[in-house]
Each structure stands twice: as C-alpha cells, then as structure tokens.
Amino acid sequence: MTTEAIYAKLLPIIQGYLPEDVDTSQVHPDSDLTRELNINSAHLVDIVLDVEDTFDVEFANEDMENLRTMNDAIAIIHKKIN
C-alpha cells in the first residue's frame, strides 16, 4: 500500500477525533496530534483501535509510544503491512 493510500484511509479516522473548534483543514501529515490538533490524549488509544480495524494490523505498546503525528502512524502501518 502506498503512503498516499494509507494517508487517504487514515485522514477520516483522525478527523473523527478533532475537537469541535479545530478545522479539518488544519490537519497535515506532520501535525502533532495532541499538541497541535488538540486531540484528547486519551483518544489516541481509540485512534489506534480504528487504525487496527481499518488496516488489519496490531499496535504494540512500543508503537503507541512512538505515535505523535500522522506520519508516525503511516510509518508504523507501513512496517506492519509490508
């Protein structure tokens, strides 16, 4: 799966967890999910569950620790499915 294809599937997942006052246009591949997009850090585990369901992968605790941006997520997914 290409980076672009992963990004296209990942974006709607991330958008579902944005606070009401953060516009979807503010989402960039290197945006920090909690610090810049103000996603509640508790929701990172929900994002991971959605990602697991969408890409049929499983994140380890170590993967969670390295998850800060969409690019991080893409890199982890890449590693898992290839």
Binding site: D21, N40, A42, H43, V45, D46, L49
Partner: protein, 423 residues
C-alpha cells in the same frame, strides 16, 4: 443561619414523557410508560415488562457530540445528561465558556445505582477473550459510578463539588437533600441534583431473580404496576432520570428566576437492618423517624402536609408504608393528606425513582393538581382500613397545594424524606 434554597429548574427523562412539558401532560392524563419487551421474554424473565424512556437518536444527538456517542453504551449517563442539561436550561443558566474557568459556585450531586452495564458487559467479554487492549478510552468513564456527574460536570464547567451518591432507591431524594444542605450551609450557590438509572435486563435481572417484580401482567402492561392495590403482585422495573437545579433564594431573586418551590428541609437515615429491617425491607421505626425528622427540619408539622408522593412500589409493603405515614404525620381516615405513586404509570425507576418522582411531586405542587393513581380500583383493605379512599385519587384532581412531602426507601434499609413548599 442557613440559607433558604429554592428550585429554579427541572429536567426529566421518564418512561411516560421526556422533558417537563411532555411529562406534565402524561402526569395529568395518567399515561402509562410500561411496555412489554420481547427481549426480556426471550431471556426467560418472569416479568417481561419495563419502563424505558422514549428517546430518538436525534434527541440524543442534541446533547452529545458524535465523538461522545462513539462506542457509547451507557443509557443511565444518557438519561442523566439530558435531564441535567434540561434543568440547567430551564433555570436560564449558562455553561462556563470554553476559555473561562470553572463555575466555582456551581456543584453537582447526581446519583446512580450502577453505570453503563451494557458497556461493562461488552468490556468483560473482550477482556475474557484476552483483548483488554481493545476496551477503548471511555470504558472507565462510562462504567464508573460517578460517570454521570463527570459527564455533566464537563459539559457545564462545574467548579464546586461534583459527585455521585448511591443509596439504592433512595438515591434521587438523597441527592436533592445533599445539594440542599450544601447551599443552605453557604458552600455553593447552585447545585444540579438528581439521579439516573440504566435500563435493561442486566440491571433488572437481579430483581427478577428475587421475585420482587410481577409476573402476572405480561399480557397487559398498562395494568401491571399496581401500587396500593389488593392485587399488587410486585413492581415493574423502570429507568430514566430526574434533575433539579437548586439555588439559594438570594441568587434566584437576584436573577429574577422562576421559582417552582422551596426545599424547606428534609432528613436521611437508616434503619440499620435491625428490628424488621433487613437488606431488602425497611425498619418501620426508622421510616417514621425519618419522616418526623424531615418535618422538624422543615419547621412544619404533619398537619401542614397537603400531599404525599409515596414510595409505594406495588409490593406487600405498601400497606406498611401507609401505616408509617399515618404514624409519622399523626393523621388517618378522612384527615389523611392526598397520596399517590408515580410508579403506577412508569414502574419503579430504581436509583432514578427518587428524582423522577420528586420532579412529579414538584410539578403537581407548582400546577396545583394530584395525578391519578392507576390500577388501584381494588384498594388494599389494610390501606382503606387506615385512610379514606378519597385520599387516593384515581382521576386527575385540581386542588390547591402548599406543602408536600416526598419519601424514598432503599435496599440497605436507607430512607430519605424531603419537604417542598410553594414559594
């Protein structure tokens, strides 16, 4: 000197009406909210009836964000939030702004018996399959007892005490008194108080197993809940939520708020599971003491009471409750006040009952009417031996009301009694 406390907002999510206007109409018309649920029949329940508030997805979406509703399975939190936010709006109060601090004079006591049982069930199945990591981020918030007060606290921005009380079927009435005491003591200006109860087989099953629910009316739901009837054969389980916005009289006057009634006072106690009291039955001596203490706290006597909103669940204990009211108020026969039980319309809303029924009581006080008692055309002889049948209206009755009393009794032998007066 303690501050006077008044009710400036009400909210209710009841099996026979959601929102104060619909619920008031249902009260006046004697509308039953009890229905037959095939799911209970399929699960081999003896009582296949229940009271579940009618809520559309659109209604729920007006109170929760789509993110909050993701994997959301706590009907109790849903009911409590809707009733609580309605009470806030009814009082004409605003939530704290996003960039403001918390409202330091606004507190919450919102009780429940258990929270998010459906969510808990889902979590247990996943966990037993070794999938604890798949529980998601909201399992704790939905299943912790204080989930309902925590959801409300965040939506409103409450900065005073935010807590959940739990005293079985006395929970809601106790919550009102806890909020009342906090305002009376000058420790808060406004308190959102009430209680909520999940619906469904996982909440109701334990009662079904105890044989305290009725199995005799599965074919006639509207006639099933029969408080004070000679043919009462157990309660019908219900669910829902009721909410009160309590406020110091000074604050209410300053805001020019509509005042439904004053909370004159009340009492909570326990029978200690002594004498005839047990985990599941009340100690009558303590019940009478609770009512007497409530009268004393409110500075009124039994002679002042115009109307009683009873606990009256439709079990063999109803005649005992009437006997206790007679003894505590020192009134009987034709001198007894009007009395009714909302449970004849909605069943026993368990942890929510005290709050839903207190909303009903205050609406009857505010609008000067007694709601009809359903299904007691055959009044229990032990009741009619003590009080006149005219005290138990079976039709809608308009009558001026000034001072009323509401009591609730719960498992664990706990009691709560509150006195309301028209302001």
């Amino acid at each position: 000197m303690r501050k006077r406390v008044v009710i400036t907002g009400l909210g209710v999510v009841s099996p026979n009406g959601v929102g104060v206007p619909a619920f008031t109409e249902a009260l006046k018309n004697g509308t039953s909210g009890v229905k037959h649920y095939p799911e209970l029949e399929a699960l081999n329940f003896s009582c296949q009836l229940g009271g579940i508030p009618p809520l559309s997805e659109e209604k729920i979406a007006a109170y929760f964000s789509s993110l909050q509703l993701k994997n959301f399975q706590s009907s109790g939190i849903c009911y409590g939030v809707i009733a609580g936010m309605d009470a806030l709006q009814d009082a004409g109060l605003d939530i704290a702004g996003k960039t403001d601090g918390a409202l330091t004079q606004f507190g919450i006591v919102f009780g429940t018996g258990t929270s998010g049982v459906e969510k808990f069930r889902e979590a247990i199945y996943k966990l037993d399959d070794g999938l604890v990591r798949r529980l998601g981020s909201t399992t704790v918030a939905q299943t912790m007892a204080s989930g309902v007060s925590a959801y409300l606290g965040g939506m409103i921005g409450a900065g005073n005490i935010v807590t959940t009380n739990s005293s079985a079927c006395a929970t809601g009435t106790e919550a009102i008194l806890m909020g009342y005491e906090r305002i009376a003591a000058g420790k808060a200006t406004q308190m959102l108080c009430g209680s909520t109860c999940d619906h469904g087989p996982y909440v109701w099953g334990g009662f079904d197993a105890m044989k305290v629910t009725t199995y005799k009316h599965n074919h006639e739901p509207h006639r099933a809940s029969r408080p004070m009837s000679a043919s009462a054969s157990g309660f019908v389980p219900g669910s829902g939520a009721g909410a009160f916005l309590l406020e110091s009289l000074d604050s209410a006057r300053e805001r020019g708020a509509t005042i439904y009634a004053e909370v004159l006072g009340g009492a909570v106690n326990s029978g200690g599971q002594r004498l005839e009291g047990s985990m599941t039955a009340p100690n009558s001596e303590a019940v009478q003491q609770c009512i007497e203490m409530a009268l004393c706290d409110a500075g009124v006597t039994g002679a002042d009471i115009d109307y009683i909103n009873g606990h009256l669940t439709a079990t063999v204990k109803d005649p005992v409750e009437i006997e206790n009211w007679c003894a505590a108020l020192k009134r009987s026969g034709t001198d007894f006040p009007y009395i009714n039980s909302l449970k004849s319309m909605v069943g026993h809303c368990l942890a929510a009952s005290g709050a839903v029924e207190s909303v009903a009581a205050v609406l009857q006080l505010y609008h000067n009417f007694i709601a009809p008692n359903l299904n007691c055309e055959d009044l229990h002889p032990e009741i009619t031996r003590r009080i006149d049948t005219e005290c138990i209206p079976q039709q809608y009755l308009e009558t001026p009301l000034k001072t009323i009393v509401k009591a609730s009794f719960g498992f664990g032998d706990v009691n709560a009694c509150v006195i309301f007066r028209k302001n």
